[in-house]
Symmetry: C2
Subunit: 282 residues, 2 copies
């Protein structure tokens, strides 16, 4: 459907994340970018949604030289994505000024997998000295007291190769679901970094907000929880080092639940917030 | 630009809200609906964003007979809307099944004012008996102890005719900003109903989540706070009667703040949640 991409990247990808979100302009369709969803980001039958957001976010970044950073992205997952080639189409809605807004689709063949609206800007140009946040970091024990994702059984690792892309160290009080003893709090908290040590940046935060297991696991509701909508806000460029993630739900009702995610960086800043609405596992 | 609309409504609008969100199919463009933004929903120089969401939400509803209720809507405000004619274009992304997803634009002439992604469904078909919410209603004194919006000075009422569309009764501890004494909590809580007594429904909830003054007023930051993105989730059809709304922010940083809104109905159910990212007033 598309010819071999013209590789316009000027730097050698430094990590599996950078390699796998890479896009290039399609030769014969100047308004589309092409990339590949690697099987390594699969969870069960589909490619993880946050990873799709990162790849599409990278395609948007490539079209907005003056506005390199995702600030807000609202993602609607239209059909399950599988490993293989993808095309990204980006349609500017408003350019110029402090922020730019676009609509964008990630497609496989003629099927839209993910459609988003997003606002980008240059986070370095935003004021850094007006922090008046009242949010405080959540409780998370030191890493040596947390439970690593590498303890997941072989069959789980095989079902979700996605897990091997990260180091995740779970709060010991919120990992009981892994052995059939969910806490019932509706909360999953973990230390998080990319497995190959690649440092976090705004594109990686789009992945981070959808990386932990569904918070419904902690409510004793295992199984796939299809996302209806996920909106992520990137509030600052994260400092190098480990991230801390918390997924939480407060409102399980009507066959749906909301999942709020906070991402804190090593400098104790709330660098990303997201909320998704998802269907309860059936 | 468009000829007189063919009115296809079968019921007489019962309220100013129903009258003002009404849309009709344009004769010569079957893929577009036409309506009018009434000056009554203006705040300062622009028409309120939540009202725009309700009108566009009504246009989406008109195109999705099997999926009448907004469940999730993510709104990006592309340019300020003024009183006058609007057209709504709805592009299906995924139809069929339990939910349908669309992209939609609200335009004035060739200028897009608002672009959204939205998922609709039939809330009556969602389970009603699986409520496991841990959220609890916020503190709000009885209505007779709250401060009504009708106390706003004449010049404010004139600047924002929007205010006259509602009865809003503010928490007495969170209205100090109106007399130059903001609480600094970053919270605004109020009783809320449409001024003409029209009962709440899912479309009115899209309006409710953006109806209160910006939460930055309570931080001593008066002025317009432009919305970057607002995502609303409608979780249930509201019961008749007063709604209770709370806007709150926890993370003021980088020249931006998030504003979370909860809407509780008279049956003590959390019927809508929203989050918006906005720029701090300059």
């Amino acid at each position: 459907m598309t010819s071999a991409p013209t590789d316009t990247s000027v730097t050698r990808p430094r990590s599996e994340f950078d390699r796998d979100i890479a896009v290039a302009r399609a030769e014969e369709r100047s308004d589309e970018l092409v990339g590949t969803l690697s099987d390594g980001w699969r969870v069960g039958g589909g490619i993880n949604g946050g990873f799709q957001m990162s790849l599409l976010g990278n395609a948007i970044r490539a079209t907005l030289p003056a506005h390199p950073d995702p600030i807000a992205m609202s993602a609607y997952f239209v059909s399950p994505a599988v490993a293989g080639p993808v095309t990204a189409a980006v349609r500017p809605q408003r350019l110029g000024g402090r922020t730019a807004t676009v609509a964008a689709d990630l497609k496989q063949g003629d099927d839209v997998r993910l459609t988003v609206l997003a606002t980008y800007g240059d986070l370095d140009s935003f004021p850094a000295d007006d922090v008046r946040t009242t949010a405080t970091p959540f409780d998370l024990p030191p890493r040596e007291r947390c439970v690593p994702n590498t303890m997941a059984p072989d069959d789980v690792q095989k079902m979700a190769p996605f897990l091997q892309r990260f180091e995740m160290l779970f709060h010991p009080d919120e990992i009981g679901w892994a052995v059939g003893e969910p806490s019932g709090r509706g909360q999953v908290t973990a230390w998080f970094r990319l497995a190959d040590g690649r440092e976090p940046d705004p594109l990686a935060l789009l992945l981070a907000v959808d990386a932990l297991p569904p918070v419904t696991f902690d409510l004793g509701l295992p199984g796939w929880a299809p996302t209806i909508e996920l909106s992520a806000h990137v509030r600052a460029k994260p400092a190098p080092g480990w991230l801390r993630l918390r997924h939480r739900t407060r409102n399980v009702a009507g066959g749906m639940f909301e999942e709020d995610c906070e991402v804190w960086d090593s400098a104790d800043r709330l660098v990303a917030q997201s909320r998704q609405l998802a269907l309860l596992p059936r």
